[in-house]
Symmetry: C2
Subunit: 282 residues, 2 copies
DNA sequence: CGCGAGATTGACTCGGGTCAATAGTAGTGG
DNA sequence: CCACTACTATTGACCCGAGTCAATCTCGCG
């Protein structure tokens, strides 16, 4: 990631640029008001306040640039207005562990609140437009506008729940199931952003996906190939076509022992009923 | 877990009951003020307010009881004043996935804020004393007392960071390393609570540890036995004695491929330099 | 004293990590 | 425009760590 490859995927074939980004020009920069921020976060806010006065500045990052690094002093949160990123942890040997792939509507930097220093590193996987939310300003505002405060709590809680399910996935699912769910999750997020959930480009390398899923890049590659052969998806480099979302969603395999905590666990049908027999390579 | 085994580990040999629990009697129940709550959370609060008026009620749970269940309407957070618990996710087949082992000073229920329904289930592993923090009340207070608000954000952020490192661990470490770190983490937490970090009782089964670490109970058991033989720890059922904390902290093994993202990764010495050659079963 | 949950161990299997060779793609510069 | 380089992705061969299955042991409890 130390090579900020100047990608030119701004207007790719399968993924056009965002339908409509928030923000207006002012003194040569983009700014957004509170409502736009809330909309971006999918938080339904009966925003009582006309907050044209409350404007939040945007910042652009180019592919490969870091938004913040580990240990850096924390003072602002970010919301992704457009573009794709990854957040990573760096272990004591300099190895990256991908934690998330933030995209439009996601919040960055929350892990910095606790110690006042970011606990992770955020890197742009494509050119990005982020909205700056100075934390001080935000909490001050929160005291006035209850909705905003709840928004904050809500976003943090949501993030927590997301990480919980991630832990559940890493702790309990097989490689195939992880990759399958990863694809479904991506598709859903693209759909939520107004893009196609059936055909999209991965913004990250196999290596990054593997790190994110606790797998090696080879396993990721092999699994994608397998899904392709089986007809669940189509793969061509980073272009993914979803063919059987249902099957992907319910794909299992190896409810790994820890599983049968109490369930009768009928040894049959490891693959959920999504029609045909495909990955039934039990 | 459906059998609330009435354990009697209240005054075990290696773990006496808490040194001094917070709370005072009032109308037959325990209550704590804001200061005690903050102390419990290790949040240094120059609490400007004399808040003898702001009292938070305690509730007791017996071993096996559920504090909250998945899907249950959310309205209060909990702080552990004494006792041990586990939080779990239940997948679509009824299988438990342990997410955390909360103990004194930890907060429960944060995952319920987002959807207003708890996303996980909390079960008492021993008799517990919890402090109730009605969420409404808390946010209202937060608007008045800035420290409290920061406390809230801080605790949530801390929780987030904890989960992040959990993800990192699940995604990158070998079974041995996971178990080793788990033990160290427990020791540290016990130390922070004023207990011995050298000799303590596990409050959870091998199965629960395995679920938490993404391993099977057999692997956990075997790993503990191995550590025992090697002299890193002593094991007798649930009584653990830490013999070489340093070695445990730095134990590696298999920086699993994904690891050597960029590091020169000298192929030698998988075990960090903690003195002697022990687990050098490389 | 016997029951049942939990823990320990052994034997066997296999999913996925490791190593390695090949090939597609993109950016660079002559 | 095309070689040159550097990634990134795909595949195959091999093998080991950890899961699976199963037998035994221990301990606390009724």
């Amino acid at each position: 990631m130390s090579t900020p490859v100047p990608e030119s995927r701004n207007a790719s074939s399968t993924m056009h640029t965002s339908p409509m980004e928030a923000g207006r020009q002012r003194q040569g920069r983009l700014w957004s008001n509170l409502k736009e921020v809330c909309d971006l976060l999918h938080i339904p806010t009966a925003m009582s306040v006309n907050s044209e006065e409350l404007l939040f500045q945007h910042v652009q990052f180019k592919t490969g640039q870091r938004v913040h690094t580990i240990g850096q002093a924390f003072d602002t949160l970010y919301i992704v207005n457009s573009g794709f990123l990854k957040t990573v942890l760096i272990d004591e040997f300099g190895n990256e562990q991908v934690l998330s792939f933030p995209m439009k509507g996601d919040m960055l930097g929350v892990d910095g609140i606790h110690t006042r220093h970011y606990a992770s590193e955020a890197v742009a996987l494509s050119d990005c437009d982020l909205i700056l939310l100075p934390f001080k300003k935000l909490t001050a505002l929160g005291r006035v506008h209850t909705e905003l405060e709840n928004l904050m709590y809500g976003v943090m809680s949501r993030e927590l729940v997301r990480e919980q399910s991630m832990i559940g996935m890493l702790g309990a699912l097989s490689a195939e199931a992880r990759v399958a769910r990863f694809l479904v999750s991506l598709a859903d997020r693209f759909a939520a952003m107004g893009y196609s959930s059936k055909l999209f480009n991965l913004r990250m390398t196999r290596h990054e996906i593997g790190s994110y899923l606790g797998l090696t890049l080879e396993t990721v590659s092999r699994t994608l190939s397998a899904f392709n052969e089986i007809g669940l998806i189509t793969v061509d480099q980073r272009t993914i076509g979803i063919k059987d979302a249902e099957a992907l969603k319910t794909l299992r395999r190896l409810p790994p022992s820890r599983s049968r905590t109490k369930s009768p666990a009928k040894p049959k049908s490891d693959l959920a009923p999504s029609g045909d027999a495909l990955a039934t390579t039990i």
